[in-house]
Assembly symmetry: none
Homo-oligomer: 419 residues x 2
Amino acid sequence: MTQSVEIICVGTELLLGDILNSNAQFLAQELAKLGIAHYYQTVVGDNPERIKGVVRIARDRSQLLIFTGGLGPTPDDLTHETLADCFGVPLVEHPEILEDIARKFAQRGHILTANNHKQASLPEGAEILTNDSGSAPGIIWQPLPGLTILTFPGVPAEMQRMWREVAVPYLRSQGWGNTTIYSRTLRFWGISESALAEKVNSFFDLQNPTVAPYVNHGEVKLRVSARADSTAAAQQLIAPIEQQLRQIGGLDCYGANDDSLASVVGALLKTAQATLAVAESCTGGGLGASLTAVPGSSSYFWGGVISYDNAIKVRLLNVDEHDLAEQGAVSHTIAKQMAEGVRSRLGTTWGLSITGIAGPDGGTADKPVGLVYVGLAGPNGVQSFEHQFGALRGRTWIRNLSAATALDHLRRQLLIKLE
Amino acid sequence: MTQSVEIICVGTELLLGDILNSNAQFLAQELAKLGIAHYYQTVVGDNPERIKGVVRIARDRSQLLIFTGGLGPTPDDLTHETLADCFGVPLVEHPEILEDIARKFAQRGHILTANNHKQASLPEGAEILTNDSGSAPGIIWQPLPGLTILTFPGVPAEMQRMWREVAVPYLRSQGWGNTTIYSRTLRFWGISESALAEKVNSFFDLQNPTVAPYVNHGEVKLRVSARADSTAAAQQLIAPIEQQLRQIGGLDCYGANDDSLASVVGALLKTAQATLAVAESCTGGGLGASLTAVPGSSSYFWGGVISYDNAIKVRLLNVDEHDLAEQGAVSHTIAKQMAEGVRSRLGTTWGLSITGIAGPDGGTADKPVGLVYVGLAGPNGVQSFEHQFGALRGRTWIRNLSAATALDHLRRQLLIKLE
């Protein structure tokens, strides 16, 4: 018997188009990874009668119903009480849930309210699907023989953690998902999707593993996916292909999976026992923020100066006032002086700087929006690099690309020094 | 009679999670703008039996069915033939569609294939919903009295143009969407969803406008939506409710719609002709990044110091080494000294600092992960604030909440000074 699964997302905000249904995509991808077929996704508003109607339809055609949303403390959060109603059981308050919510609230200095009692009440017979990152727990429930219901909050971060840590192990224990699809994503910087595609074209015809290109936020990725009976078996299929792709990608392939340019640069700095300081103009702290997003970054990242105003460039980074006046803040000269300045002021091995025009205003004919200079000062002197990211995609795009590109310049420097 | 609408998206790629269902969000937003209520969204794969099942359910509960996807030339594009089958009518080939496709292909130097005849065949009695930007047309069809079916290709650009240019005028001509729904979202900081819900509980029973709470990234929102004949009329319904909610929310309500804490603080600084500098430890630049995400922020934000390493706190922020040793970097004392230090070093009206433990490591019994101090130095001296965000939600959550909370402290200061 093929067991059929469906996803039911509860929330009027989805019907109003306030948010994209990213939860449905996440669950769809996760089910695919587990090799579990699901045939329907339904979105319904915070309306008990319509939710009931959807549940009646779903329970007749599927064996596993996965709900997201409607677990909050407010009156329009109705998932659990409506499910209890559907299957003719009462709601039962679980003191342990209330205590757990109270403890989490205490940490943030919030007080428990009457509304929270609602979140502690689950359909009779349902087990708690624990939520370690939020207040509302979900349920694991078999209201009828051969019918399993899982509920998750609508908050993606909470839902995803609960799925990975509780739901997946439970489903496997119940015999769901006996084949597995395992993927590795190779990450590239400094090469366009089309240029990379040209190099690895032949790989796109592979059947198992498959190789597919993706691009987002200026970064190109290659996803290598294998289907097998076990993760280990899938990894064995992927390993040789990954090796060939890395060889072809060369320095442009900076990492895989959860690697970020910041985490890779961090690892290289650690290996070299080197330290880093940053001087930021148009990114306004974004470079430092991405570096310190990496746990343990304090062992190599010392800090920096956000020199948004030109006076700060002079006062805290020893930038030369005359050069500033003559060349302008967005120039090779000032990028170099900022990198040297922050390196000497903070006493680090490396100094990395960014100065550019993020827009929407401030662009001129010879210095248009999207023009960015990166400065890199190190043991062997200082360099600078000019980039033109264009005005089209706007301020956030330019700022993100500037920070990533600066990290990439440092990464390549550190790799060269390793050779 | 309330006319009910539903959206049915056909495509296995949605069930595999390969793509986000942005078509459903687009149509949801468009329907909301037209004041047309829709109660269900369904995703189903390219499978005739399951598509039929979905159509049977939908035609019994709705008067308007909007389909996307399954209009392409390949064998797994089944929407039109399955619909014809559902309502027991044959497919009829439309030569004018074939000619149109041939003409479009000629422009791109493509040749017509047998597959394209499929795209030229529509259910008997259906009108053509012309597609000027792609090959596959949709249909406008009333297979039963009181039931209208619209179909669109899955390609967003084609679907959106067809919706705006053909479907909307048709629907209006049929008496749909003679009202409009307009919404305002009030944004709150420093109050939990449940606490705010308690205060405004009575508003949740309103019918027009409606008031609904949302929460994400630690921020609580109230969405006020009104249905009326015109946007102006809807705004008139919303205005008094918004005023009451703002009164109840008090200082916790920081703005509406696209406001961010950074943009609101920026506006207040401009009004006060004041300037700001930041000193960041655990946020590593995130506070500066959020401030400079606002276009034009250079008029009030001068920059700052990322003092990730303690030595930098001493060297660039005049933090006292002995206090640092005695009290530790994460303390009221050091938060104050960082704020004063950056204010005097950069010569700004205000100095805002953050020092805390973002984790996952570095926590102790008396200084656990999630403990954060905010320092605020200004014309009337310096203050500091202690916050415990908890370790639960992790490093990114703590860093984001720290930056937002720091901005909120400055916002409240600036508002008090305005009074």
